[in-house]
């Protein structure tokens, strides 16, 4: 089981430092959600974990090895990343999109093996897209489209999957459709780390939460340890009441008012 962690990680865009000396361990085999207000650095952290952003200092370790010492192709077999709101090329079909996930398993002359075909079929089945596989991605609903992108990342056959706000731009039903899929994938053994905006979704769909504020980790742990009135107030500057969800017993955040500094 793969294990992803950050050690004294500093990330910046040009000269603007976003994250400084951050230590993070993502529990393997679980769903971790990174939460925090806009601009707190959660997407930046995810990009850093996925080696899309080079660290200024420190390193990201996968199974104890710094990821920048591993070839990007080798890394792509162990770690998948789905950025926020990716755009599919015009006219591409679901099957063609998902097939791109096999990239790291191919080379110049071995471009489509039986293993590639099997992984493609498996990814389509898992995401329930087999019957839509010949449809053009642009013609799908938002939820189906996001499932197609997730299928692409699944075809990559990595132990770890990183997702940046996988539910952006989706309506509630489609948000749940995507989150349910992620829970199912996690149950089948995939470690998931994602950025989520909605605290209640984070509490219900992740087993480990990491709350960030101004590039620092403010709290992390189980949902009931992180979703508290004090932490929400500190991180989001919002006053709220936390109640237990009547059916799941998980914390529900009911915001009451914004606090102006």
């Amino acid at each position: 089981m793969s294990f992803l962690q950050a050690e004294k990680l500093s990330l910046s865009y040009d000269t603007v430092s976003i994250i400084e000396l951050l230590d993070l361990q993502t529990p393997s085999g679980e769903i971790t959600a990174l939460i925090g207000p806009n601009g707190c650095g959660k997407s930046t952290l995810l990009r850093g974990l996925a080696r899309l952003l080079k660290p200024q200092h420190g390193s990201v370790l996968l199974n104890g090895h710094a990821i920048h010492t591993v070839s990007t192709k080798q890394l792509a077999k162990e770690l998948g990343i789905l950025p926020q709101a990716p755009v599919a090329p015009e006219g591409i079909t679901v099957r063609e999109l998902v097939a791109q996930g096999r990239y790291p398993h191919q080379d110049w002359f071995q471009q489509w093996s039986n293993a590639d075909e099997d992984a493609l079929q498996k990814a389509l089945t898992l995401t329930n897209l087999s019957s839509l596989s010949n449809r053009i991605v642009d013609t799908l609903s938002g939820g189906q489209r996001q499932r197609a992108w997730i299928a692409m990342a699944l075809a990559q056959e990595t132990d770890i999957l990183l997702l940046d706000e996988p539910t952006t731009y989706l309506d509630l039903a489609h948000q749940l459709e995507v989150l349910d899929l992620l829970v199912q994938l996690n149950a089948e053994g995939k470690t998931i780390v994602m950025v989520l905006h909605d605290l209640n979704h984070a509490a219900h769909y992740a087993n480990h939460l990491v709350a960030l504020s101004a590039g620092k980790i403010v709290a992390q742990g189980k949902p009931e340890e992180v979703i508290t009135e004090v932490i929400v107030k500190n991180v989001f500057h919002v006053e709220c009441q936390i109640v237990k969800h009547p059916m799941t017993g998980l914390p529900l955040c009911l915001p009451t008012k914004r606090i102006y500094k």
Binding site: R47, A50, R51, L52, S71, T72, K73, Q74, L75, A76, K77, L79, G80, I81, L82, P83, P86, V87, A88, P89, E90, G91, I92, T93, R95, E96, L97, A99, Q100, G101, Y103, P104, Q106, W108, F109, Q110, Q111, W112, S113, N114, D116, E117, S133, N134, M152, A153, Q156
Partner: protein, 354 residues
């Protein structure tokens, strides 16, 4: 070979495996057939008309009544037809690569100024360094194209953000600007150069395959035979790049290296056409668009299809150019522009609608 219910068939041997869309062989075969018919007509018409049957017989090496046929077909007209097709093929493939590379449906080697750079470099060589042998022309053109590509990269294409990338219009604007500057440069060279060399450069700039011979085929064919298969094998890199930089990197693509390699291929393909036909515009824009309709948007299909469609477009344009106002010849590049400009405007207009 193994077939499934999928729209692909798979080629799998020990050394090589690939999936190929079932439409591709059909489309390629069809275009090749149409191109061949055009070629037979192309070789037949002219001041000295030869019937298609006689053309076929001559091509097949059979005896025909008129002994002059062999010379007219094999030495005068066939090389020109073949050069037209090869030039179109190189431009079409180059356009498919550039459009994939920049994720920009408006990009093409001529609209980005790459062919202008190639031709400026070649003109400079012809006019100011006439002692340099003609074999160096493709290399000079290639260098000119690369220089423009580097400038483009620095000013228009360096993606500031990680998202969809720069505005497609900006790339074209910078490209058109570069083309005018280079055009002015060429005019300057033509004005002040030695008349003898200027004339040879002028003929060469006209965007025409007029008076092409087997030597021209010899000088461009190796480039095409090397670059096209390489482009075909690296099509999967273009497919990945088309998903956006972040996704491509997440898939394990070494972005800078692969991009640079593909850019080299596309510049080489475009530059080499300039050395035999001058600037033939819009083929690199039109061919990939038509091909996308025919074989979809994955580049292992798009690159060969764009090459074949490009070949067809130029050989057909040259046929039209030779016949519609005969005996006056209209350069193929003018025909492609007459068709290409409205097409470009249509693409612009369509973008505005979205």
């Amino acid at each position: 070979m193994k077939s499934t219910s999928s729209p692909w068939f798979m080629v799998q041997t020990q050394k090589f495996s690939m999936r190929i869309d079932k439409r591709i062989p059909l489309v390629l075969g069809l275009i090749l057939l149409i191109s061949f018919i055009i070629l037979v007509l192309h070789v037949g018409v002219g001041e000295y008309n030869i019937s298609p049957v006689d053309v076929l017989n001559t091509l097949l090496g059979r005896e025909v009544g008129d002994k002059n046929y062999h010379f007219v077909v094999m030495e005068l007209r066939l090389p020109r037809a073949i050069v037209a097709w090869l030039v179109g093929a190189a431009l079409g493939a180059s356009g498919a690569i550039v459009q994939g590379l920049t994720r920009n449906p408006l990009a093409s080697p001529d609209l980005t100024g790459v062919t202008a750079g190639a031709s400026a470099a070649a003109v400079l060589l012809i006019i100011f360094m006439p002692e340099v042998p003609k074999e160096w022309l493709p290399l000079a053109a290639f260098a000119g194209g690369i220089l423009v590509a580097i400038i483009l990269y620095m000013f228009a294409w360096r993606s500031g953000s990680a998202s969809a990338g720069d505005s497609p219009i900006r790339l074209i604007l910078v490209g058109i600007g570069l083309s005018s500057v280079l055009g002015a440069f060429v005019s300057f060279a033509l004005t002040f150069g030695d008349l003898w060399y200027v004339q040879s450069a002028m003929m060469w700039l006209s965007g025409s395959v007029y008076a092409s011979d087997w030597g021209d085929i010899q000088s461009i064919l190796p480039w095409i035979l090397i670059c096209l298969p390489l482009a075909f094998l690296t099509a999967r890199d273009l497919n990945a790049l088309n998903l956006g930089e972040d996704v491509a990197q997440g898939l394990g693509l070494q972005i800078t290296i692969r991009r640079g390699f593909l850019l080299l291929l596309s510049v080489a393909l475009a530059a080499v056409t300039v050395t035999v036909a001058g600037i033939i515009g819009f083929v690199g824009l039109i061919a990939p668009h038509l091909s996308r309709r025919l074989v979809g948007s994955l580049h292992e299909g798009l690159i060969p299809a764009s090459a074949f469609v490009g070949g067809f477009v130029v050989i057909f344009s040259d046929l039209l150019g030779r016949t519609i106002m005969a005996p006056t010849e209209i350069p193929a590049g003018i025909i492609t522009s007459i068709v290409g400009v409205p097409f470009f405007l249509y693409l612009l207009w369509k973008r505005e609608q979205v």
